[in-house]
Symmetry: C2
Subunit: 352 residues, 2 copies
């Protein structure tokens, strides 16, 4: 069988960390081509092209400084050239670029390629939730698109600190192939069929992460934080059950790394947690805090919280998700953060 | 219907925090007697009896200093007098005293009383695991004994920081009655039938808490800690499934406060976590660390880890629980803490 060629579509913080894993994983492999292409939006750093820096110094000095990338990972600024021979497309870029990126690739890629999305988030349409993996698949000749999510803060993965991740893939053989591609001694993958839950967890956890940050900002203790994490998880489960019922989501999936582990890591080390804390300690708007903390990038949590809120409001279901709703209102400065816990005292989970 | 009288059997840190909740809860209640007796092992503090201090100053200055107890909570040093009129017995004392305490109570108590155990831990006999609630029930005329466990660090509960707890009770009506007794605006209870899982979680989480402390001591990041918490939960579930199969434990129960929430709180704020961290940073034995950190009291985690280890060894099942086993060996100083993560790289959970 011909070796499979891998292209990484994206090259930020997480993309570069995953490029390090993949680059090492394919070396001396009987399954994968040794050369891994990484599509990189060209930027200038100190007068040099970023692709040139990556290919010469083997370091993404802008998005993952201090970490050496394997020499077989080759950065390439031309998207169509990057994807045209790929058998496996690894999507790892901000979700607002997915649509446009796919449209550029569509005419040039192999029709029998497979994809995997590492992108957190989902789109909300008039018909409900649209998963990023669906957008990729629909834009790209209906190729299968798996997902990978877990407690994987990029910096720690890049520094080879042990962690786990969950691959959600409806096809078992493809799932096992992807596990071979992504696993490292410090990065352990499990494969589950319930890809929909895996992907939804990746989007929803950031809303709970803000809630955890609010608890920290208010100087509550570990009990309260644990309660917020748990109630947040209950709302995630309920949300997926209500809006994804057709996909037969499984309770077991929440016990995977994509579920509780990612949630716990997000609520202790993620940047949405940091945002929640900042919302308590300052009077600034989310926009101002983004400029200050993320240098203009967007926090994901408030966006997802707003989309969820609007969707729930339309369906008259706000009362079933008091944590999600409170996080949204606090982010919008429509509610004082000190009222957050009061919103949880009569949570539907306590009424049974 | 006659009002029910409550006796709290125990008066330590957690016992006093729960006395505050119960004392307030029964005030003006149509269900419960206003006077709540709290059995207290008599001690001298600055030349005064501790019971006298509690009943005069309404503060347990030794075990919960700085927190006012309701004046209707009355400390009493005589166990038989404390329990003789009680309809509800709330057990909250170190588990090594349960057997002897029950034997003293047995002849004097009401035969139709009910009990609830807030005690973490279990006994291991030649026939397997023996739950504390079973020991209480068997010693006391087979009265029903519910349990309550959750993310409830005593100091935070005493300071009225919001948290949740899980009541495990096989009888629904009794469960709802106990919920009424224990609930406060800052202390929300859910009731589940699967009392066995609730109780087992309370014992097993401390072993995982030591593991989380080891991760902290080794300066690993949030990803690794999340993975240890998740793998620890998987071993808790597997352990309960294997050794408690007859009790029909339910996966849902692990999503209650007694499950993930208590585990997360224990792994971030509990004293077994502190022990795990100390095991890395010092070369002292557990015994010496107990003297230093707990002034001679016992950490629960190492005891449970040892019991589990011996039980697994006898049944040739050590390989299925690498985290539990590694925690035990590290506590015994038979393994260097730096090898902890290596024991998890090929965890059975990753092999599916």
């Amino acid at each position: 069988m011909a070796k499979k060629s891998v292209c990484i579509v994206g090259s930020g913080n997480w993309g570069s960390a995953i490029a390090k894993i993949i680059g090492n994983s394919v070396k001396n492999s009987s399954l994968f081509e040794e050369k891994v292409l990484m599509w990189m939006f060209e930027e200038q750093v100190d007068g040099r092209n970023l692709t040139e820096i990556v290919n010469t110094d083997h370091e993404n000095v802008k998005y993952l400084p201090g970490v050496k990338l394997p020499t077989n990972v080759v950065a390439i600024p031309d998207l169509t050239a990057a994807c045209k021979n790929a058998d496996i497309l690894v999507f790892v870029l901000p979700h607002q670029f997915v649509d446009k990126t796919c449209k550029t690739m569509e005419a040039h890629m192999k029709k029998d390629a497979v994809a995997i999305s590492l992108i957190k988030g989902f789109a909300i349409t008039d018909h409900g939730i649209k998963l990023i993996s669906e957008i990729i698949s629909e834009n790209l000749h209906k190729i299968p698109c798996a997902v990978m999510m877990g407690a994987n803060l990029a910096g720690e993965v890049a520094n080879e600190m042990f962690c786990e991740s969950t691959i959600g893939c409806k096809n078992e053989e493809m799932g096992q192939m992807l596990k071979t591609l992504f696993e490292a001694p410090y990065f352990r993958c499990t494969v589950v069929e319930d890809a929909c839950t895996v992907e939804c967890c990746g989007a929803l956890k950031n809303v709970v992460g803000i809630g955890a940050g609010i608890v920290d900002g208010m100087k509550y203790g570990d009990n309260t934080k644990a309660a917020v994490i748990r109630l947040g998880l209950m709302e995630m489960m309920k949300f997926i059950e209500v809006f994804m019922a057709g996909s037969q989501c499984k309770m077991e999936t929440f016990f995977e790394s994509c579920g509780i582990a990612d949630l716990v890591a997000t609520c202790h080390g993620g940047r949405n947690r940091m945002l929640g804390e900042a919302v308590v300690s300052s009077k600034k708007t989310i926009r101002e805090l983004e400029k200050e903390i993320l240098k203009g990038q967007s926090f994901q949590g408030p966006l997802v919280a707003k989309e969820i809120h609007d969707m729930l409001e339309k369906r008259d279901m706000l009362k079933r998700f008091p944590l999600f709703v409170a996080v949204h209102k606090i982010c919008k400065r429509e509610m004082d953060p000190s009222l957050f816990i009061d919103c949880l005292r009569d949570h539907p989970e306590h009424m049974e």
